[in-house]
């Protein structure tokens, strides 16, 4: 007994300087540039959200928050790099939910999605199904009727296999019992290029919104729970009769397993602060994004819910990367 106590003391004494160092680490964090790994090539949707956040975080902490684009393999390469990064609080993953809640169900990923520690949510896209005006249907209801009357005739462009936009159409097809051809593209810009001349009739991305405002495309609905402030007449998916049929596109910051909890908490607090600021809200709104405020624990729960829903959808529709 005495020996144990002695060992415990000795252990504590030896550990003390390290513990102090650890505490100091957290207090001084960040004291050198922080890497935000984006698992996609530059210029895509993730950049859209990531860069304003990087700028704001840099301003808030007085340390550089640098975006590192590591695209490839649908997001797997960057996510893997983040999983293997040193958990010292200087590398984070900034990703849409696809890499963590969709991809692992479709293929074998070199990382464990559950190993990541959520830090905070940085943005949800607010958009809905867009339709080219030349096709005919002008509202969501008309689109469903048209699709039922003409199975397989409509086509829909997504940002790629396994992305949230791909799942959105699969979810719609499943819930409404309709047949629409899914055409995968290499990113939303690529899809928009074919959507504008009506090569594909439908899309569900935020880069269509400026074109809707210019009158070139029609917005049929909003997938989110509340209507888009710029489009007060466009109904939500729930109002159209399809509750629980959304596949949210949400972006968040994750830390590799082992990152000290105080650092995660510190960053989360800052994220919440920035997210609630008027300036950030305006900026996010201009790119059709809202930022829900959640604590890390809430993010864990949301991720599990999202994953479960996606797994169910993938199983039900027998979705594969063909």
């Amino acid at each position: 007994m005495r020996r144990r106590k002695f060992l415990a003391f000795a252990g504590a004494a030896l550990a003390a300087p390290f513990a102090q160092k650890a505490v100091a680490q957290v207090q001084n964090w960040p004291d050198k540039p922080v890497k935000l790994i984006l698992p996609y090539a530059p210029g895509g949707g993730t950049d859209l959200i990531g860069r304003p956040w990087a700028e704001k975080l840099t301003q808030s902490f007085g340390q550089q928050f640098i975006i590192e684009n590591r695209g490839g393999a649908g997001g797997m390469i960057g996510t893997e790099a983040a999983a293997k990064a040193a958990p010292d609080g200087y590398s984070f993953l900034l990703t849409p939910n696809a890499t963590l809640s969709v991809l692992p169900s479709l293929r074998k990923t070199p990382y464990d999605p559950k190993s990541f520690l959520p830090v905070g949510r940085v943005g949800d896209f607010v958009t809905g199904f867009s339709m080219h005006p030349a096709v005919g249907p002008k509202t969501f209801k008309e689109m469903i009727e048209y699709a039922k009357a003409n199975p397989g005739k409509l086509s829909y462009g997504s940002a790629g296999l396994g992305t949230a936009t791909h799942l959105r159409i699969e979810m719609l097809k499943y819930r409404a019992g309709i047949d629409i051809l899914h055409v995968p593209y290499r990113g939303s810009a690529d899809a928009l290029n074919d959507h504008l001349p009506n090569t594909v009739q439908m899309m569900n991305e935020i880069n269509t919104i400026p074109h809707v405002k210019a009158g070139k495309l029609l917005l049929l609905n909003i997938n989110n729970a509340t209507r888009h402030p710029d489009f007060p007449d466009v109904p939500t998916l729930t109002e159209c009769g399809y509750a629980n049929s959304d596949v949210p596109i949400w972006y968040s910051l994750f830390a590799p397993a082992g990152t000290p909890t105080p650092i995660v908490a510190k960053l989360n607090a800052k994220i919440l602060e920035i997210a609630n600021s008027q300036e950030m809200r305006e900026r996010m709104r201009s790119i059709n994004t809202v930022v829900p405020a959640q604590t890390p624990e809430e993010v864990v729960a949301y991720l599990e819910e999202d994953t479960a829903r996606n797994v169910e959808l993938i199983k039900a529709t027998n979705m594969k990367l063909e």
């Binding site: 090539a41 530059p42 210029g43 950049d47 990087a54 550089q64 086509s155 928009l192 074109h211 063909e322």
Partner: protein, 502 residues
């Protein structure tokens, strides 16, 4: 077209662009871009990504102007190394090596560089005017292209790649096919299946263009030249003047005009037209020339046309980005990123909501081109003198820059190893009298063709006849077939004669 309205817009643009700060940013961008572009391997995308955070601090116009300057600068810098040391820094400079490097070996690097600069400047000016006058109609034209049209256009591009080869047509075919196959190495994006990767994770995303180009062009050339220095040695007696002669200028006029037109049109296609610009222009010149067999030995037309074409395409590739918010390539995607940092949502309203930005950018494009010419013409003297360095030392420098350039792309030493492999492979190809240019062009086009082929088949629900039903697609395929026939038939005839003689 209301001229008054156009002039008013240009006036607004000038007012924005000519502010001292914006001119400064333009210059800074052009200088940085040129320096970066000259380093083999480090391209505009990497540079822009590095400098994007710097642009947070600048006002929106300044930031975008600077980024654009970096882009043109890097384009031009890539041509410099292509001509001087046979290193194409970018896909657009591959074709410039064919005649440009030969001219350098003949002591005519100066005229080659000068014509490249002048041709690029002219093309840039014309393209700027085209954007100012006709951005919306050009956009509509581009929107006419559907996936089968893109596929057929690229097939035509592949035929161009075969036609531009100097030597045996069969060998050119072989190189194109091999290049396409090499391009397919990696992950098949549609299915996630791996192709030809042998479990090496560095290959999962395919072979990089830069290590391949550095190896097959640069390193192979070094290996060949090291024990044959008279091939590369540039005795000062051979150095004939830095400026192009009257003759050079006369011969370059038509190619520059044709190259500009062709490149300008191809650049507006968001689906990848710009890649085709330089070698389509080269092939066109070869066809128009009275001495096509001399192409590849140092014809000035073979430098003037592709250089004008790729600069025109580089400028017009801004159009889909400015009018629709659709980036044609990674560089434009970066520009969009830059816009979004400043809260500008790219799309059709940018022209109306931020006319100062829109027209300011267009006018500063012209300034950027002007600055590049002012910067680069005097530098020609320095570049050419560099070639006088004894090859045994120059080779050391070139090899080092290749290695560090490739390394810096992704901080990956493995990519440097790939240069070694491709270098040996490139040397083997040289020994067997294969040309590397069709290999690289096939490498670039192959994967893109596959994407469009699959997309066409998906949209047509499995009907292959759609390739012949779409008028544009049919046109391109017919052109490709005709061109191929022109090139192959004489060879078939020759082969039969040779066989008869046996």
């Amino acid at each position: 077209m209301e001229i008054a309205g156009l002039l008013a817009n240009l006036g607004l643009g000038f007012a924005v662009a000519v502010s001292l700060q914006n001119l400064l940013w333009c210059l800074a961008g052009a200088v940085i871009g040129t320096c970066i572009g000259v380093l083999p391997g480090v391209g505009p995308v990497a540079t822009m990504a590095l400098l994007l955070p710097v642009t947070y601090l600048l006002p929106a116009e300044g930031a975008l102007i600077m980024l654009a300057g970096i882009y043109y600068g890097a384009q031009y810098g890539g041509s410099t190394t292509a001509i001087l040391v046979n290193l194409p820094g970018e896909s657009s400079s591959v074709v410039t090596t064919l005649d440009g490097y030969q001219m350098a070996r003949q002591g005519r690097a100066g005229p080659a560089l000068a014509i490249a600069a002048l041709g690029s400047f002219f093309a840039g000016c014309v393209a700027t005017v085209a954007i100012a006058l006709a951005a919306p109609p050009l956009t509509r034209l581009a929107q006419q292209f559907t996936p089968p049209d893109y596929f057929s256009l690229m097939t035509l591009g592949l035929v161009f790649a075969i036609v531009l080869a100097r030597g045996s047509v069969l060998k050119a075919f072989g190189m194109v096919f091999l290049g396409m196959l090499l391009g397919l190495i990696g992950t098949d994006v549609n299915t996630g299946n791996l192709r030809y990767t042998f479990g090496i994770s560095d290959l999962f995303d395919g072979i990089g263009f830069v290590p391949l180009a550095m190896g097959v062009f640069g390193v192979a050339e070094i290996i060949a030249n090291l024990t044959n220095p008279e091939r590369a040695e540039l005795a000062s007696s051979k150095l004939s003047g830095l400026l192009p002669t009257r003759e050079d200028m006369r011969r370059s006029i038509a190619p520059i005009l044709r190259g500009t037109a062709l490149g300008g049109l191809l650049g507006i296609l968001p689906g990848g037209g710009a890649i085709l610009a330089s070698f389509s222009a080269y092939t066109l010149e070869k066809k128009f020339s009275r001495t096509p067999e001399k192409f590849g030995t140092g014809m000035i037309e073979g430098v003037a046309a592709p250089e004008s074409a790729n600069n025109a395409a580089a400028q017009t590739s801004f159009i889909p980005m400015l009018t629709l918010g659709i980036p044609s390539n990674a560089v434009m995607a970066m520009m969009i990123g830059g816009m979004m940092i400043h809260g500008i949502v790219p799309g059709p309203q940018v022209m109306e909501q931020r006319p100062g930005l829109f027209w300011g950018m267009i006018v500063s494009m012209w300034f950027g081109n002007l600055m590049l010419i002012v910067l680069n013409l005097p530098l020609i003297g320095i570049w050419v003198r560099l070639l006088l360095v004894p090859y045994r030392l120059l080779a050391i420098a070139i090899l080092f820059f290749c290695c560090i350039g490739v390394y810096s792309l992704n901080n990956s030493a493995n990519e440097v190893l790939m240069i070694a492999v491709f270098g040996l492979f490139g040397y083997l190809l040289m020994k067997l009298d294969f040309e590397p240019a069709p290999l690289l062009l096939g490498f670039l086009l192959g994967p893109m063709m596959e994407v469009y082929m699959r997309r066409t088949m998906l949209l047509s629900r499995g009907d292959p006849w759609v390739f012949l039903q779409r008028p544009l697609s049919l046109c391109f395929l017919l052109l490709a077939a005709l061109l191929l026939a022109f090139v192959v038939l004489p060879n078939v005839r020759k082969a039969r004669e040779a066989a008869f003689h046996e």
